[in-house]
Symmetry: D3
Subunit: 198 residues, 6 copies
């Protein structure tokens, strides 16, 4: 048994090379690389299942890039809080970076990933995260009182669907990442930590 820290692969499962991927998937990945400067490992790790890859990102974008009353930063808060509760390394680190960038706040992601009850958020955002965590950890108990609490903060049915839908989607995503032992790119750990970072 070696006692040096393992140089862990990005996934337990097969990761195809770019040239072996279907063209649409390769192109999407190259576009992400162009924009971000690196390829988030989730794109590479899902590519061995093209149909699942396409459905995963279509679903992700439908929830995360949708118009509506939740800001993009708030959507990332939901991802980071629930992923912390589900102990998903990739999601906490990668979406933590996006959250810092969206909110232009270098400390918010660490707060929400560790204990959202102690984070610098508004009471409305606290109610949003209380509901997201309930959907994530005990959705079977969701009932009228949860909806009333959200409506008291001005959330409408579309907002409530978005909150719960994002929590549900990342319940799936967290499990996929944990079963793969998906490793986040090192770049994500630093992104958005300088207060004035782009």
């Amino acid at each position: 048994m070696t006692e040096s820290p393992s140089a862990l692969p990005i996934s337990r499962f097969a990761v195809p090379s770019l040239e072996d991927m279907p063209a649409d998937i390769r192109e999407r990945i190259l576009a992400v690389q162009e924009k971000s400067g690196f390829i988030p490992t989730i794109f590479l790790a899902l590519a061995h299942r093209p149909d699942e890859f396409r459905a995963f990102f279509a679903y992700h974008d439908a929830l995360m890039e949708r118009g509506g009353n939740l800001t993009k930063g708030e959507r990332e808060m939901i991802v980071v809080a629930t992923s912390g509760a589900n102990q998903c390394l990739y999601c906490v680190v990668a979406h933590g970076a996006i959250l810092r960038i969206r909110e232009k706040n270098p400390t918010i992601a660490d707060q929400i990933a560790t204990n959202y009850r102690k984070a610098d958020i508004t009471p409305r955002q606290r109610a949003m995260l209380d509901y997201a965590m309930k959907v994530s950890k005990r959705a079977e108990e969701v009932d009228d009182a949860d909806f009333a609490a959200l409506r008291a903060h001005g959330f409408d049915d579309d907002d409530i669907w978005d909150i719960g839908g994002i929590a549900a989607f990342f319940a799936m995503s967290n499990r996929l990442a944990n079963m793969m032992s998906l490793r986040p790119n090192p770049e994500f750990h630093m992104l958005g930590r300088q207060p004035k970072a782009k």
Copy 2:
């Protein structure tokens, strides 16, 4: 406060009429109705979000109708066991029906939904469900020993991905159904309960 049992709607959220849906969604729903004789409520309840509807069913079909070593009945076993653990009424009842039909077995779904450890399944299927339940309830603890146990039963990496992927997808689906209070069609309760049923 009324004391009569509520005539509950199929979902807490808006359910569009068929004519108000995008054509591709309406056509898919009509095709399902043609084949099944009724429209499973999940199709109606997701239709108010067309992009999510399309991604959801694309993902579902990629996992459930894929070739590979798991039979269609075994895929439904995974759905029913994890949905029982997540207390998802729609998924237990609707996929319980499909499981009975796939396995031509009128009692298997009740067994697996209630306590899969007491079900009439093979040791290989038991190992499959042990892993599916771990992904569903504590994916953060998945490690090498889980993979070794599955390989000892002849499962390869593609099979292991399928088992975990289905468990993860229904972790999402169970949460969506619970947040909607999605009601299963009454038809599902009876389907496949006669041993010789089609």
Copy 3:
């Protein structure tokens, strides 16, 4: 290791033949068979311990066939909800059948066994099941507020005793059935599923 589904026995423990049972137990069993058309496996599986058999059914009948404000259907709701939470295959399937018959409702048992919060029941019945589930899963926390909530729905002390007593009795029964791996008779799976069934 065989890979065919096991033809499981009705209990892990010895099951005496009818002729080897004490006369009073044999007679009770034959009377049940006469009435139901089959012998529920619980009667056979407890018969190797005659004193426990007698006490078990005396206790069961004292709680389930007692007069009082709870209907027989409501008593079965308590059994099915708590047995689902305790993952007791025999109790969910056998008492699910009785519940469908008592309530003349082919879908109520699947609802209550899977997630009683989503079932077609009255607010009074919901309060009854909330208390029954608390007694079943965390009786150590029962306090004045639970009694106040029940009284607000018109339950008196005798009713509250009945609800808790049934939940407590089946906490025992669920554990006995799980330690035996008691299998329900196949007949129970279908009983009461036709809306007009007797």
Copy 4:
């Protein structure tokens, strides 16, 4: 709100006077009082339900006073360990006293009620309590490996039934006592604490 410690009644529910009880119950209670010097509160608190009283004590005696390989002290160990886990004040205090007396050991009950893994017991008794605790807290997971572990310590099927049966019976009893807020007699706290006590 009064701030003095409440002089709590022995039960939340009605406690009949001796003269109002059926004769057989009154006689049993007087016999216990004759033998013990006091009436354990459980006898008084169950007496308002004569049929349940009779079934409860018949069941109790069938399990606790049965011949077989488990000593009477070992049977009480099962009661005390599982009642501690279920936070049942009456059962821990009353059966703790009986355990001290049976084992002629003034410290064993406090050990087993608090953390049986730290108690002065034999490896065979540890295996017995591991199984009893599994039946008490997660009987749905009982499987072949549990039986093999018990058999390795020489327990036969009758012993295994006894262990599980006692754990199951007190799962009921603990819940009844907690729903009643049943108070133990003060005498029990001291009984058996002097090493040479009768």
Copy 5:
């Protein structure tokens, strides 16, 4: 494997003899022995780490012997309730004895260790223990509502700090005792059980 009950050592770890201890520690221990008539095992079991010994007892005394609105008996109630929840044999038995003595009440410790919700305490003490248990078992959820509930019973900020501080200190102490398998002195089991004991 021997089947006789083990004569367990007081700790899994090294226990130095009095003459091998630093002088200040030996003197403290002799003073305790002088006062109590025996040496509580915690003093001996921590002595192999003199710096930790000194810090542990300095911290203990700062919290337990401080002036303020909580009585010494109430401080021990916090220790006994949280130690019962953490299944710490040493702490339940040793501090249970001190609690009986402080409160001149032979039954209070058994009540609070087993289920503080059933104990003969004032509503103010119940609120104190509710908060202590929350700090002990789920401190991450402590929020404004907890402080409001305590203030409604007249607790000020210093009192609230004391309650939580004691619960936190014994969260540490319980873990140390459990990792050592620290055994309580036999004397503690009996102390304070006679109503008129000093």
Copy 6:
């Protein structure tokens, strides 16, 4: 109710000014400030209780700065893993920074705080953290098998004490920080994130 993010204080409780502190405490704090460039909030938040402050840091230093086979980085790994599990914002952020510095590794703290099973650590460190997490979350179950697993990796009794002692101390510290809602200094979020940082 304001909807802007709260500018939260460093603690729910009183924080004395430097001039109001006892001289020894002020001097210790100034020395920390001199060395670190800022005053970690834990020093300020504990200062209103000088005796507890002194005991806390004496205990901390006895465990964290002790010689022995565990490196200073490994000691911080224990803190970060258990503090993540206990959702302690201050401890995860402040000790995460120290861990990055000790290990000269900008990503290790995020890994260990989120899911230590997925971290780049040696098998020996994994065994260390498995034990630390058991002490932190279910110390009552610690037994011989845990010690055997640690010894198989070469840990001796002093090492095992250190691992468990640190886990126990931070079980206390996490609870104190959560009851205070202690906020970490913003500086900690960035420290050690540049690979070549001092």
